[in-house]
């Protein structure tokens, strides 16, 4: 029976009711200087990491940062597509997707501008860590899907992708760890922001303090090299520098759990 595949049994435009709730941004921190989820501003969120989640992929990983869940799989190295030019270095092809059900708002299946931008940032962060010269004429594919977005999705995605690359035995100069910080006023740096703590442009900043934004930094911890910076919102440059510094420290702290995760399943190798 012929059906019109374009017809969906939903209204053309619909909005999540939460959009209409008045959110009071000044209440990011309550009177006891605690955040909504009970953390201190400086307190990081719990992180869970696992390798080899997707059995069909060459390498894969799963990462959970508070409620944000990211799954990543890596394929390759494989032959580049026919039409491309000769390249002495390999090519990293990334795909970053929010699952349709991951956010408050339903996400379409086709990548929007935000997703393609985050994908660029992810690609650029990873290309500085992967030894691309070891893979001439080849391409390595990284697929990241955010299953649930509760803030800091980019940071979780970058960390997960680097883990998956290591799991796929793709040579890397260093692991990449990423962290983000919400800047809310000059002295409030909220680490690992949740969805409610992410930056929204129309939120008013605190009185007499326009510093308001979010910063994500990707870092190669042993080489101490920054391989990705992304920020949004208005900040004084000194505050921005400080926020980057905070992110760097936090990413540095991720090294130990990352190492533990990667080395936990190495026992069965014969040297």
């Amino acid at each position: 029976m012929p059906t019109d595949s374009r017809r969906l049994p939903v209204p053309e435009v619909s909005h999540s009711p939460e959009l209409f709730c008045s959110s009071d941004p000044t209440s990011l921190i309550n009177d006891d200087s605690l955040r909504k989820d009970g953390r201190n501003p400086e307190e990081i969120a719990g992180i869970f990491m696992q390798c080899g989640t997707v059995s069909q992929a060459k390498g894969s990983s799963f990462c959970e940062l508070h409620k944000t869940k990211v799954i990543c799989s890596v394929y390759g190295p494989k032959d580049v597509e026919q039409k491309e030019d000769f390249q002495m270095i390999g090519k990293l092809k990334c795909d970053f997707k929010f699952a349709p059900f991951s956010c408050h708002k339903r996400r379409g299946h086709i990548a929007d501008l935000e997703e393609s931008e985050l994908c660029e940032v992810l690609t650029q962060a990873l290309s500085s860590s992967v030894c691309l010269h070891r893979y001439p004429k080849s391409q390595i594919e990284v697929y990241v899907i955010v299953l649930e977005n509760n803030g800091s999705a980019l940071a979780a995605a970058i960390t997960a992708a680097s883990l998956a690359l290591a799991d796929a035995c793709i040579e890397q100069y260093d692991i990449v760890a990423a962290a983000s910080v919400r800047v809310f006023g000059k002295e409030n740096f909220l680490r690992d922001p949740t969805f409610h703590e992410e930056y929204f442009p129309h939120q008013l900043s605190k009185k007499n303090d326009f510093n308001n934004g979010v910063v994500t930094v990707a870092l190669m911890p042993t080489l101490n090299q920054v391989c990705g910076v992304l920020s949004e919102g208005c900040m004084e440059s000194s505050v921005l520098q400080e926020a980057i510094q905070t992110c760097t420290e936090e990413a540095q702290n991720l090294y130990a759990p990352l190492r533990k995760c990667l080395t936990s399943n190495l026992g069965d190798i014969n040297v």
Binding site: T123, V229, S231
Partner: protein, 290 residues
């Protein structure tokens, strides 16, 4: 988008030049090329600007249209950016080519304007929940000579400065509906407040130093760059690292400092020019490409 292709020895020449603070065209690391800018050159837009930076050339057209406010911001309008690479600039932009470049510029512009401090979006509201102004900013790249992101942001600020939104009048129509009337005089417009509009500054890391306003040859030697939006007061509104390389944490700090400095200088020069141009009578102004 790597356009210029250079041999290794040419790259060395450029890298050493940056090291010696003496670039191939004689500039020092923090020197900007001269900018040629004019506004109001497209008669069928509400605002427009043309910029020439070295051999980069861009055209920005602004059109305002009435739209329905977003449900969560019922009193506000918004800005919409669109970047297009004309095949005139390079044959690779034919068809869907250049999408990566235009997406990058577009998302960077969106990022720095997505901020309640840079523009008064409530000024774009017309009737709450019903009508608001949507400002479409269209950037057209006509020639590529490096540093397109900075050039685009300067031209966007100039075009927004040039933009006049028709002063519409509201009258009560039948059945309580409000009617919108356009003014008869096309000159009857209100201008946007662009005082806080940011410009983007790209700092390209070459060797151990960073440079501003890289030419396309220099871009080819640069593995990582930092793009930052800077307002007139020197605040940063959005930063992104571009390129596949990595940066020292210390150099990130340095780059942010010089980005702030350059950004403020850009604002000062740009505002000065825009004031001069606004004061000029129409007939001595240049007209586009003639």
């Amino acid at each position: 988008m790597a356009k210029a292709i250079l041999g290794d020895s040419e790259k060395w020449f450029i890298v050493h030049g940056v090291q010696d603070d003496f670039r191939t065209d004689g500039r020092s690391c923090e020197n900007y090329r001269h900018i040629e800018l004019e506004t109001g050159i497209l008669s069928n837009t509400h605002g427009s600007a043309r910029i020439r930076l070295g051999s980069s050339e861009l055209l920005v057209g602004v059109k305002v249209e009435l739209g329905t406010p977003k449900p969560q911001r019922i009193n506000e309008g918004w800005l919409e950016f669109h970047v297009d690479c004309s095949p005139n600039a390079h044959p690779v932009f034919q068809g869907r080519g250049g999408k990566e470049l235009s997406d990058n510029i577009c998302s960077m512009l969106t990022r720095v304007y997505r901020n309640n401090t840079v523009m008064d979006l409530e000024a774009l509201g017309v009737i709450p929940q019903k009508h608001c102004w949507v400002v479409h900013v269209d950037v057209l790249i006509l020639e590529c000579g490096g540093n397109l992101i900075d050039a685009a942001s300067i031209a966007v600020k100039a075009a927004l400065y040039n933009t006049g939104i028709p002063n519409i009048s509201l009258t009560d129509g039948d059945e309580g509906e409000v009617e919108i009337n356009l003014p008869d005089d096309p000159e009857d417009v209100k201008h946007l407040k662009t005082i806080n509009c940011p410009v983007l500054v790209t700092l390209s890391k070459i060797g151990n130093r960073h440079i501003v306003d890289a030419t396309d040859e220099e871009e080819c030697c640069c593995s990582a760059s930092l793009v930052m939006g800077v307002t007139r007061r020197g605040h940063t509104v959005g930063v992104r690292k571009m390129g596949g390389g990595s940066l020292d944490p210390e150099s990130v700090t340095e780059m942010i400092d010089s980005g702030k400095k350059i950004g403020r200088q850009l604002h000062i020069s740009l505002d000065k020019l825009l004031k001069i141009e606004a004061g000029m009578s129409e007939d001595i102004k240049q007209t586009g490409y003639l």
